[in-house]
């Protein structure tokens, strides 16, 4: 017998996480065997060591990490599992890299239903499979009731940058063009529509998706892409301000060129929010030289994840590094960092 049998298989129908699933004993080994190994199966993970070992060619590599703590765990268009894969794959991809491997760290709250965990893990596995990345190592901790929130997932990604690519947030130059690959705010609105005190109906689904395929198409067309970033927390506004700071430039965007779904506009009106500050999980901001903008836009539009891509503005000189916006109405305003968090408001 080469393998310890777990006499009672995990009860995914009625079972819950308890502290034994994190205490290094047989219950933990069983959880790993019957859930994680089964869902994520790949030779590196099967090494069953405390680390995954793999061979890489010489070159430029990247590493990115994100902890995922979303409420609710399941939302239209995804769940914390798929999000945990996409979020990190995208951070890797925003360097132009091809994501290869993910490490996954779970923090589970005592009492969390095993069935929900299975659903999440399988969704992660499917997202990883679709993105072509392998989850090669992991960790599971269990915290007491009231010291967690169901499940938190950290993913750390590892990828390889193709030769000749140098994408960084400090490469925006005055005159550069700013592009996005599609509609803004879908993820945040999909999440908010499910929140207890806000619940509203909308056809909006999270845009959560892995973007490295699109990025590959983009760098193929424009290898001299200057900046890439996914506007997640804090929305487009945060990302543009970050890039403006990092590159020590100003920016100016056109409100009328921002792709926005009707339902996102509607939800923002209802809640008193600004879609520029609402999170995305399948969007990217790209900055390139003016002459590369049209070819880049075309390349993006040819990719399924860039059909609604748009040039939304340009980089300009500005010692204050302000981001400004020409409003559709005709005036000009600033697009500042988000202050605090964006709370639904009545005034």
């Amino acid at each position: 017998m080469s393998k310890k049998p777990y006499i009672r298989p995990l009860d995914f129908k009625h079972g819950c996480i308890d502290l034994t699933h994190g205490s290094g004993g047989r219950a933990m080994a069983q959880l790993i065997d019957e859930l994680f190994l089964k869902a994520f199966d790949n030779p590196l993970l099967r090494q069953l060591n405390d680390q995954a070992a793999f061979d890489v060619p010489a070159g430029r590599m990247v590493m990115a990490t994100d902890s995922h703590v979303v409420t609710p765990l399941f939302f239209p268009g995804g769940d914390i599992g798929s999000l945990a894969v996409h979020g990190t794959v995208n951070d890797v991809a925003m360097s132009g890299a091809r994501p290869l491997y993910l490490a996954a760290g779970f923090i589970l709250e005592e009492g969390f239903p095993l069935g929900d965990l299975k659903r999440i893990v399988e969704s992660m596995a499917a997202a990883a499979e679709e993105a072509g990345v392998a989850i090669v190592t992991g960790d599971t901790k269990v915290v007491e009731q009231g010291k967690g929130d169901g499940v938190f997932i950290n993913t750390t990604g590892f990828g390889v940058v193709p030769p000749g690519i140098d994408i960084s947030g400090n490469r925006a130059r005055p005159g550069d063009r700013i592009l996005v690959n599609g509609t803004l705010g879908d993820h945040g609105v999909a999440i908010m529509s499910q929140r207890e005190n806000l619940s509203f109906g909308t056809g909006i689904e999270s845009d959560s998706v892995a973007l490295h395929g699109l990025v590959a198409a983009m760098v193929e067309t424009v290898p001299n892409l200057h900046c890439l970033r996914d506007p997640t927390r804090g929305g487009l506004a945060a990302t543009l301000n970050e890039l403006a700071q990092q590159s020590a430039v100003g920016m100016r965007i056109e409100e009328s060129s921002l792709p926005l779904r009707e339902g996102v506009r509607g939800a923002c009106e209802f809640l008193g929010l600004d879609p520029l500050y609402v999170a995305n999980e399948g969007k990217l901001v790209a900055i390139c030289a003016a002459e590369d903008a049209e070819p880049l836009l075309e390349a993006m539009r040819e990719h399924p994840l860039g059909r609604e891509a748009a040039i939304i503005g340009e980089v300009q000189e500005d010692p204050n590094h302000f981001v400004q916006m020409q409003t559709a109405f005709g005036g000009m305003r600033m697009v500042d960092w988000i202050s605090g968090e964006q709370l639904p408001r009545i005034c």
């Binding site: 509203f200 109906g201 909308t202 056809g203 909006i204 779904r261 009707e262 339902g263 506009r265 509607g266 939800a267 009106e269 209802f270 008193g272 408001r345 009545i346 005034c347």
Partner: protein
């Protein structure tokens, strides 16, 4: 002050409530503060309550005023 949005009555619900829609969003609101609202009417919604009906004719008149400004530069 007093963020409020125009929304269309889509369906009447129990407890003096209605389902309204606005820009692709649907939400349940209270009709406790309005009278004689009908299906298809637009109401102004504030903190989950309809606070008034929108008069479509008056709205038309206001819009006509803007349009007229453009058509007739001497209007003002």
């Amino acid at each position: 002050m007093c963020l409020a949005v125009p929304a269309k009555i889509e369906r009447f619900l129990d407890d003096d409530q209605a389902l309204v829609s606005m820009g692709g969003v649907e939400k349940v609101i209270s009709l406790a503060l309005v009278e004689g609202v009908e299906l298809g009417d637009y109401v102004i919604v504030h903190v989950g309550y309809a606070i008034n009906r929108i008069d479509p004719e008056e709205a038309e008149k206001t819009l006509a005023l803007f349009a007229q400004l453009g058509a007739d530069p001497e209007a003002s």
